[in-house]
Symmetry: D2
Subunit: 323 residues, 4 copies
């Protein structure tokens, strides 16, 4: 069922492992996969349908789509045009479902524009076509705006810059301008260097606490702001502590496995997985928990990722009805 994927998403992997544990399925969780070999775009959709599924997965009821494409941050316009379209397809579906035609949409670019790997959200908003003021002044008579959504946008900044939670700013703006839908773009911390800059996660459950490079303290979703929220995230950094932890777990397993180290294997065999983890954590400098790992060409990467996402959003929010 997993077929040709080289990298599994967190959710797909968890779902599969649980499946195997629970005799083939978790009630209330549906996993589907799609491989577009020609375009090299691999899509995993996990739908958590019931509270039971939510409890098992540790995530709220809702839809979680992961697009994976090795060429995602390529400067080549051909490649990222295809990914833009794939992304646009999913967004169009969620948009119709959650808000209908010609909806009023507030796009929020989360993140700190002054920290390169966290600037994805602000850069996407910078390339977005906003229409709300045009529609309010000129109406939809202009053929351009006829079928467009009423798009507004904001870059709330981060708490260190504003002194406020992004939730407070978003809620305030939503209460004042009443959009039907909010789309949030955020840079994420991946759990592995293999996932960096080649995965997009889209969900209709908004932003979860603790996620994002900025480590969001509050959830940003329909419950907290009163309006449905689509979240689009791309991992641009890896958590430093995670990287060290993962590499060290490999060392411990290597030591376990090695023939020339039978004794080691024996000794380590007395520690279970949790105890090994504990040993590792004690060694990880606490400073690492406030740091992240990023590639050197992160400026180029964030630039092309933001073009790809804003292209997608502009297509969906600004398009002709027939398209």
């Amino acid at each position: 069922m997993m077929g040709k994927f080289q990298v599994r998403t967190d959710l797909a992997l968890e779902a599969k492992e649980s499946c195997e544990a629970e005799d083939g399925q978790i009630r209330g969780v549906r996993v589907t996969e799609q491989a577009d070999e020609k375009r090299e775009i691999y899509t995993t959709t996990v739908v958590i349908e019931t509270e039971n599924g939510a409890r098992m997965m540790g995530k709220p009821v809702g839809t979680y789509i992961t697009l994976e494409a090795p060429n995602m941050s390529s400067p080549d316009e051909g490649y990222h045009a295809e990914i833009s379209e794939a992304l646009a397809g999913h967004l169009r579906g969620l948009l119709k479902q959650m808000a209908g035609e010609q909806a009023s949409v507030l796009v929020v670019g989360l993140g700190n524009r002054e920290v390169t790997p966290d600037a994805l959200g602000p850069e996407v908003v910078g390339n977005l076509q906003v229409t709300r003021h045009m529609i309010r002044v000129y109406g939809r008579i202009s053929t351009e705006l006829q079928h467009a959504c009423e798009v507004s946008a904001i870059v709330p900044g981060v708490m260190a810059q504003t002194g406020m939670e992004t939730l407070e700013i978003i809620k305030g703006v939503v209460d004042e301008t009443n959009p039907q839908l909010v789309i949030v773009i955020d840079a994420l911390a991946a759990r592995s260097t293999k996932r960096l800059n080649r995965t997009i996660q889209i969900t209709d459950t908004g932003i979860n606490p603790g996620s994002g490079v900025g480590n969001h303290r509050n959830a940003i979703n329909a419950e907290t702001i009163g309006v449905p929220v689509i979240a689009i995230g791309v991992p641009t950094v890896v958590d430093a502590a995670t990287i060290v932890n993962d590499t060290m777990e490999e060392l411990v397993e290597e030591l376990d496995r090695s023939e020339g180290m039978q004794q080691l294997g024996g000794a380590l065999g007395t520690l279970d997985h949790a105890e090994k983890q504990e040993l590792i954590r004690e060694l990880i400098s606490s400073q690492l928990n406030t740091m992240f790992v990023t590639p050197k060409d992160i400026d180029e990467t964030v630039k092309y990722l933001s073009y790809m996402i804003s292209e997608s959003l502009n297509q969906v929010l600004f398009e002709e009805e027939e398209a």
Copy 2:
């Protein structure tokens, strides 16, 4: 009374002219001037006390302070430290009056950070000490924060970027976070090149519609957002149409005056001021009305002006009680 001023503020000038017209005073308008020759800082305070005064002056009831200093945008730290202090003195007074001690203050940097002369507000906010999140998490036990105001800050962007009026964004954030006072920083369009980058205007009546480089469409004041508003403005550009108009008025007066042009004098004498103005306006390209004039070193100027203003704000909002 006017003494040694080379440049009069709009308000002072209007007040004086009205004074002279109305036998020495406008009821409900008080004008005071202060000259600090040593520091080269000239201060004019106009207080509009009654509705009658407001009607005569064309501005709401309130206090209007103009600081003028030739060295305002100098890179020399000595010079702008003195102006920071003078500005801080006025802000401290207004702050105490309008919000009391250790007030919660939202600082709003109006303007488009991507257009150099309009980036003053955003740059001031970039150098501001925000304390709200620290106070909320750690309390005021820390000696540093003991007497500080609870400072939050936001850069709302401009309507072309967000699709929303800045009033909508500010009102939303104010309703959500309930500061006791809002301080707005804005780049203004001066009426004369002589006033550029050397004047600060401070008022307790907020932002008026039509003002600012961005041409604000709504008032931002206690009426519209429910919280008192201090506005700090520095003219960084001159309106293109204004420049042409003013220079041309001078031409017309020159033609009026010139001896070798008696006939001209005679002929133009048949046109009153309004008719001359009309003639000039017909000639000013309509395109000029959407343009502004700015000096070439505007990046350096905005940088030093923003240091000077943020220094001032940090002093006032973060200071020890005794200071």
Copy 3:
């Protein structure tokens, strides 16, 4: 011959006027015009062939191409793709002529990136595909780089930032890296608001002293740096003094013409054109000479103009031989 043009370039106009003055032609100057009505791109090419022509035109011997397109700074990708192609056509021609196939090219983005209307050069370089380091390390075996030019790029900044003339920096880099050709991109000061952001000037004679928003003090051309120079310029600002002067000349002519002002007409008739100009200049504030006029949406404009030019350059410098 001039047909449907609404705006004449400086050169074309001067050439034509001289033509008319000199019984139909200036020896050594050839003017051709091309109108692409469908794409709304109007091209004027002026070739100054001899020293006599250079003297008459006040510009060095060489080729001067002006593309004019009302939609040049449109965000619409369709429009500016067509203009990119037209520009690419001309650049390809000059490149072949001046440097041949797979040439080594240094692209120089003149201007101050911190002053929005002067940031055109730096922004074009920011979106350019540089290949020199890749070719030097990997060779041309890769199909991508097979026919590409060896492209290097630099943003020298302005004298206020570096303390050096851009000529010194460019010459130093050229002497060290020996490119066969230099392409310079610069923001220009237009002589009229009508020409703003809708004209591109391309010349094989490099940069002339006194031109550009930055008011270049030295020529940047084959004589001064030892390598042929293509200059690409787009007017993004209008000189403030020029705007006032032009509008005032219109006033003076209006006064000349007006029926109700016979006497004025008569009086002004005693002043010749030069004397009228003199009168006007005395009235123009000297401060205006260091200022420029720019539209409010200059950030968006410069962004789209730079995409359009970098798209063009990337096509020409990076293309397959057959294309």
Copy 4:
């Protein structure tokens, strides 16, 4: 001799270890330490005097100064003013020695301004007082410029942006403008999170290949550019591979040491240090070698570090003779 230092610099540590190995001293290497307890500034100076010392230390003959201060990137102006002064003292000494009074100095800000932790050099140059053009136009008659150095500055960018080695650009500019001295500012990769953003390294031997966040491929020193070079570096990132390696070494040593793991201790005892290292390296993802680790507040840190360094440079390069 080492006294109260919590963190040893690479050089001091190596020198000390060698000392201990070689019966107390390495011929040709002199190490001195200075502790300013009040200001919390700890200075280590390593002078490599002979080729023998250079061979032992793996660094060229010259002076290597390390300032360490826990408060280096504090926003508190008091703290970083003291460190600026300490830094200025050392720079003044080197400047006098290497170039004399009123020298002509080119300041080079290495690094990629678009990648936050690598933007230190460009940001320092952005706040520098350049004087070369003023001195050339106005001479030194002005009291301000009387004793100032003739300062020029450049931000060469990185190879991915320019296609050129920074050495090529610097050499070209130096050959053209002939400064007597070059000062280079660079962000470095630290070997430990403990050293991040609290150490400044100053050397009169320029930049070594392989150093810096940007991993310089060529040396930038008197040999390669023909003019003496002072290099100022601050570690703003840690190499990702280094962090993992170091933490894993600790794990291996912990396993070695642990009582409950006698067998492990025994088993690992069969591997020498090099073999343990080898095992670790095989496990470190090769991708980590192109990545770096940085703290989340890196924008604030780089901002304050750059103020501190430019303050120092401006003091030294622009000061009155008596000071």
